[in-house]
Symmetry: C2
Subunit: 207 residues, 2 copies
């Protein structure tokens, strides 16, 4: 397989971290990285639009040329092929809980984090219309959500319960992606800090 990838973007990082947690490459599954330079607008090139008309990474290309988009869908596909260790849950009920937390992280934290970056960071000046007032609002929403997660993590080890799951990958990569917008674990957020340190210490965090 091939993974169209970018080392700084959060979405392909989810897939790399998932692949590492599953131990796929350690077990002989070959997934060749194809680097795509987002900063140089390679995702907007005609060549890349052939790979993904939406101009987004990651894309997973199977050996028969079939291409899959969207990090959540790619990871769930890989989990169907290689079930162990299960990162999406092992029963319909557990799967529903992990999916709910994952989606809430995506909608309530990840998307506003991308908005805080797009509307508030100098990287996007001249590349996109920026509405600074909205960027600041999105950033406030993200900070409130991390406070909620800090409270949640006082009672449970991981974001979707007592086991590490795909939801932790989404949360960790989202927190990392907040750094350019000044979004960080606060000194008084002890539970969030404990969780963040535990996830950062996993080998997959370097994938």
């Amino acid at each position: 397989m091939k993974l169209y990838d970018n080392v700084v973007a959060p979405s392909p990082r989810r897939v790399r971290m998932f692949i590492a947690e599953k131990g796929l490459e350690a077990h002989g599954v070959v997934i060749t990285r194809v680097p795509v330079d987002i900063a140089a607008n390679e995702t907007g090139s005609a060549a890349f639009r052939e790979v993904n008309p939406l101009g987004e990474v990651p894309v997973l290309e199977l050996d028969d040329g079939t291409r899959l988009r969207e990090s959540l869908a790619i990871c769930r596909y890989l989990e169907a092929l290689y079930p162990e260790p299960a990162l999406f849950g092992t029963t319909p009920l557990k799967r529903a809980r992990i999916e709910a937390v994952t989606l809430e992280l995506m909608f309530r934290i990840y998307l506003p984090t991308t908005h805080a970056f797009r509307h508030g960071h100098k990287f996007w000046q001249g590349r996109a219309t920026q509405v600074a007032e909205y960027g600041a609002l999105a950033r406030e929403q993200v900070l409130a959500e991390w406070r909620r997660l800090d409270t949640l993590l006082a009672d449970q080890e991981f974001v979707a319960g007592d086991a590490f799951s795909f939801a932790d990958i989404v949360a960790f990569t989202t927190l990392e992606f907040g750094k350019p917008s000044g979004i960080r674990v606060q000194p008084n957020q002890l539970s969030l800090g404990r969780w963040n340190a535990a996830v950062a210490a996993r080998p997959s965090a370097k994938a």
Copy 2:
């Protein structure tokens, strides 16, 4: 089971439409509706925060009291219990494609539609901080995405391919939810119009 529901919000409508498409109630599955008044801020009440701390509908409550959140997770859970007709796909590859389209609809059209509404509609005046310039930007993004879908639907019957799927439920309920923001199928969008008419004619569209 119980479904905490609201008749005007798009997220619980996805679940009602899914239940109707699956024919669950016609086959004896009892899902009692519990109406929740969002306009009167019942979702923000202490009583409802016991049901869902995030203050969102839908919530599916199982007979043992277990509560599930997030329409996508709820529908996938019901599909695991009642597989036929399959609306999330029947193979890992088909499931990945339907999920990718579903997520792209959620991120690229549904979320910006909620933003166009929240930042541009008088309903939210005094209920939330509105940034009109951003609302207009979100609306433009949504209109561009529906143009993309119109082109896509020239070559395929449904949004994720040749079969009706959960992605069509997401697309249809999102298009309906755009109406208060003046987001509609344009007269020249013949393929989108054909698809919209076909989905609107399904009995589930009235659920």
